[in-house]
Subunit: 634 residues, 2 copies
């Protein structure tokens, strides 16, 4: 049974939680990011992205553009991610002016493509002769991949194929270089694999499928490739270690890999491509490798917030159970990539576990990456902030207390934008006979298999999800593992169901009404004692939301609080004015009254205290203050 | 009132705890370290220290020794620290064969001194022209300082002044260069300041005192010095950042410094010299600066074990309260330096606080630095070890689970050796009318002021300390802050006393017998909630000993244990066969039984468990296993 998740879904609805976010992206993030790309945003690092494409266009015509490139070697991808986000936004909410802006940008990009199909402004402007000589650092395949994703998204949203044709020609160029001409190598930063799978799905191009297979299957077979590549050239971008195969997941053929290693974003992008290929080609061996890597990531190397890549050293996975709260890296992009991976795992096998993790990553780390006003972004998502230490101590410099603006390396902001605008692609999936509801989001959805429904819900702040079935069929509703008590009603009648791999399957008729009642009771969570940093601690969760305790709600000090885990947390009412609308939870706690001594043999006096928690994704929106997800448990 | 702590004390006694350690140093560590210096130790990194001196001796005679230097730029100091340790050992236990070995080495060293008094094998062999052009990294003053300390110690132990004369000539050379000839600069690695104070005390040389004052007072006055020095030369040792004045404590004149910053060993060596100078010259302003820095170190930046310099980045002090157990650096040498600092603070003012910290550093971090058999050493002293993470994770690479052998950078082993053999210098002090007992150690002591006593005790495993007064006078007995119940008996009669600044003062006659009974009850310690890493945790201490929990005593798993802090820990009997003789403590605990889930909302089942603790200094002597000082408190 083929399950397709990357379907065209209309789920935009200004009333729902997701809809509100999509509106924010449309109204604030997309216009702002475009102004950055054009170097028109005030108080922002120069981007030069659009100018790079303009200059590359001149360069391919033989004009001398001199020192016409500015930015990171992967600067092109900012444009690609922005187009992709704009495309998804157009998909859920037409906007002729935005479409025109995208069309213009695409024209500029098309001009920058060389006659042989090559497209990359860094190498086109700087030195054509260096093409493909530094797969380790050059990001050419990475940039192509992102532009392929943009091309597919824009074609799906508008039916316009200018960029799609550009990228098909680019794919052919890459195919010729790596397969026809037999040049060795695989991407230093995996990405193109998953993009090629999108191209294949979108266009049916066998070249794209073969290229994806080629990159997946050759990866890690020759562990000396990067070293030999390095030795054969006399330049470098950052001086990356060509022998650190773990960093770029090339230490073993991917089918033999068992542990998630190295740069976390690279890792999950690669696994996404692998899982996509496995489901598309029914490659059971490849899916087995994906399952092992999934388990490595989610059962031993993931924060409760769905953050992955715990160490700043290489923005990478560390060893099993090394998940410190305060020095966490947990890049926003890595959790976005984890959602990609989860969605492709769902194409191989419908298991609630995959959707649970996808949801965990989204509602916690991904959303935390963006300020509530959409104007500033975190790359790094710690689970504990202590002003004076966080961002200051040599080991905590990356753990900022406040979201900064646009970075020189601007990967996360547009990545978050494209993820949020395409939320429907993760929320829903389908096979020929079943419509899958993986995530809960207010909005209208039409499936290609004929099922059509309207979802009404105030999730994740209300735990009732209503589905009005316009066109019936078989519906698979995810029953989240965190929901200890779940009820399903069809046309007002409670129905008995047995969740199969985390999903309830219902056969529905036109006009039916389904009501899913999930468990909205907050619960305390305990970490495995194998995580040294979390022994004796507890976290508070409600539905998919991990909560955190900020100083501003707790007399400035959350460090001396211990939560009474045998008490019942009190869920406050939805407060429209708090943190763009949220629900606070109060918990009975013990506050220890410490003296000034660094160490004392006098047990600190204790008093009762009501501790207040807010969802983790809202943290850091009220100035610099303490923040903790994991609290001492009493 | 002048208080002198660097007095000649005979405290060697094979029966006591310290005596046993001194015997180990004499029988195992000193011979082994000498074989290393001579490149005769098997399975050890090449040292080349003696050969460097031989080659430098040839070089000063004009012979071509080519590439005759091997090792670190500060390699000479290994020989100096070894001579110093040997001298202290000779002081407490004569050994003609060892003395002959030292004499021979001193002869070789003397030959390596240039006719102008300069002494440093690195620059003498490599390039004489580079002398004094890299104070930032060159360690010339550091090596001279260590050799001055060795010279004083050997003169005090044997009355032989060959090395002392060499170093007086060397001091004169340095004085001429920096003061007479007016060349700018101060040591990149402070050390010589404290050494010059020893030279002044030992020889009365005013040149030494003036030089110490010069280096202390010019330090940090010109914050551009290292940058200008760097710009003026075309070579570097490691490429140290010349602008990082915090690293080498040169960001401000020392009298204005308030926070302990930078490389922890450099910091405490500097503060030691400052405190020494302050007491010798009655410099109240300088002592005030020392007090501020003392408070910064001990009230905000010190581990319970007396470890300091919490971060691996620069082996340095971090910010206030950043004291993680698992990624601690806490170099052995830094705690040795903290003892130096404490001992010089006691010369300014007799306060129990100084001696308490000196003792804390010694019985925990300093002793933990050495394997119980004296054969292997820790540089880094974490307070938590988790096999699989410690020593492996990118952020924990420096936190080894087992003591390694001799390093290329061999600072800590000889430093520990010289500290332990000179324990009496820290244990006792004197003024013209009072004999001070700062630390408790079995042995005989003669004070210059006439007081003479025999101390009998099995401290730190027994809390009765007996003093037989051979020659009476005024005795000041430290009453440790950790001793909640203390009794003093004179000739069997309990006497009332009021501790003044942590000391009980007694006027004693010849033949009197004093018995001090300290509190041997174990106690739980709580850290300030300002230390984020330690909230909700407790540590177990008894007397000066911090205890730790190792897997080997606790069914392999200390992570899932929570100590019941309202229970009474059970002190086991002294076990001669355990860890070279120690006392275990059992504590009632709760063991949580975790499932395999990384995170679960099911509270783990709990069962009663008796947890066993051993002194921290003994950890890691029974193979690789979990270790924790701070445990979850129940």
């Amino acid at each position: 049974m083929k399950i397709q998740s990357q379907i065209n879904v209309t789920s935009y609805n200004a009333g729902g939680f997701i809809g509100k976010y999509q509106q924010l992206i449309k109204e604030t993030v997309i216009p702002y990011q475009y102004s950055v790309l054009c170097d028109e945003a005030p108080d922002t690092e120069k981007s030069h992205v659009v100018q790079n494409f303009i200059n590359a266009g001149k360069a391919v015509k033989g004009e001398d553009v001199g020192d016409g490139f500015y930015g990171m070697v992967f600067q092109d991808s900012d444009a690609a991610k922005w187009i992709e986000a704009a495309a998804y936004s157009l998909n859920v909410c037409p906007d002729p002016k935005l479409e025109e802006t995208v069309d213009n940008l695409i024209e500029i990009i098309a001009e920058a493509q060389d006659s042989d199909g090559y497209l990359n402004t860094y190498f086109t402007i700087k030195d054509k002769e260096k093409r493909w000589t530094n797969l380790l650092e050059g990001h050419e395949l990475y940039c192509s991949g992102h532009m392929m994703e943009a091309a597919c998204a824009y074609y799906e949203a508008t039916g316009k194929d200018v960029l799609l044709k550009v990228m098909l020609k680019n794919a052919e160029h890459i195919y010729n270089y790596f397969i026809k001409d037999g040049n060795e190598g695989f991407p230093g930063h995996p990405e193109i694999e998953l993009a090629l799978m999108k191209m294949y799905r979108c266009t049916g191009s066998e070249i794209c499928l073969k290229l994806a297979e080629h990159f997946v299957n050759t990866r890690g077979c020759d562990t000396t490739f990067y070293r030999r590549e390095r030795d054969a050239r006399n330049w470098t971008v950052w001086g990356n270690n060509a022998d650190d195969n773990d960093y770029q997941q090339s230490g073993k053929p991917v089918r033999q890999q068992t542990d998630a290693t190295g740069h976390a974003v690279r890792a999950v992008y690669l696994y996404t491509g692998m899982a996509d290929l496995a489901s598309t080609t029914d490659d059971a061996e490849l899916y087995e490798a994906c399952k092992r890597l999934w388990d490595s990531v989610t059962k031993r190397r993931m924060y409760i917030t769905g953050g992955i890549g715990s160490t700043v050293h290489g923005e990478a996975f560390s060893v099993d159970y090394d998940l410190p709260s305060d020095t966490a890296y947990a890049e926003t992009c890595a959790s976005i990539g984890l959602m990609f991976f989860a969605s492709r795992m769902l194409e191989n096998e419908v298991k609630g576990e995959y959707a649970d993790i996808m949801e965990r990553a989204f509602y916690n780390t991904v959303l935390a990456g963006m300020q509530l006003d959409g104007k500033r972004f975190f790359y790094v998502n710690p689970l504990e902030i202590i002003p004076g230490i966080s961002g200051v101590s040599p080991t905590h410099r990356h753990d900022l207390t406040q979201r900064p603006g646009w970075y020189a390396c601007a990967c996360c902001p547009p990545n978050a934008a494209r993820l949020i605008t395409s939320f429907g692609k993760y929320a829903y999936g389908e096979s020929s006979d079943t419509a899958y509801c993986h995530l809960f989001a207010d909005g209208d959805v039409s499936f290609e298999n004929g099922v059509k429904l309207k979802c009404k819900t105030a999730y994740p702040y209300d735990f009732t999800v209503n589905y009005e079935i316009e066109k019936g069929g078989r519906l698979a509703l995810r029953i989240p593992a965190w929901s200890r008590k779940t009820a399903v009603y069809v046309n007002g009648e409670s129905i008995a169901f047995e969740a199969l791999n985390g999903y309830a399957y219902l056969n529905l008729n036109d006009g039916d009404n389904v009501r899913l009642e999930l468990d909205g009771k907050p619960h305390f969570v305990y970490a495995s004692s194998k995580i040294p940093a979390l022994t004796g601690m507890t976290a508070l969760c409600r539905g998919p939301l991990v909560y955190c305790f900020e100083g501003v709600d707790n007399e400035g000090d959350v460090m001396s609080l211990a939560l009474k885990t045998d008490s019942t947390p009190e869920v406050c009412g939805y407060d429209d004015g708090l943190l763009s609308g949220t629900v606070k939870i109060n918990v009975e706690a013990i506050k220890s009254e410490y003296t000034d001594s660094l160490y004392t043999d006098t047990k600190p006096a204790e008093k009762q205290f009501t501790a207040s928690a807010v969802p983790y994704y809202t943290w850091g929106n009220r100035g610099e203050n303490q923040m903790r997800v994991w609290m001492t448990a009493k």
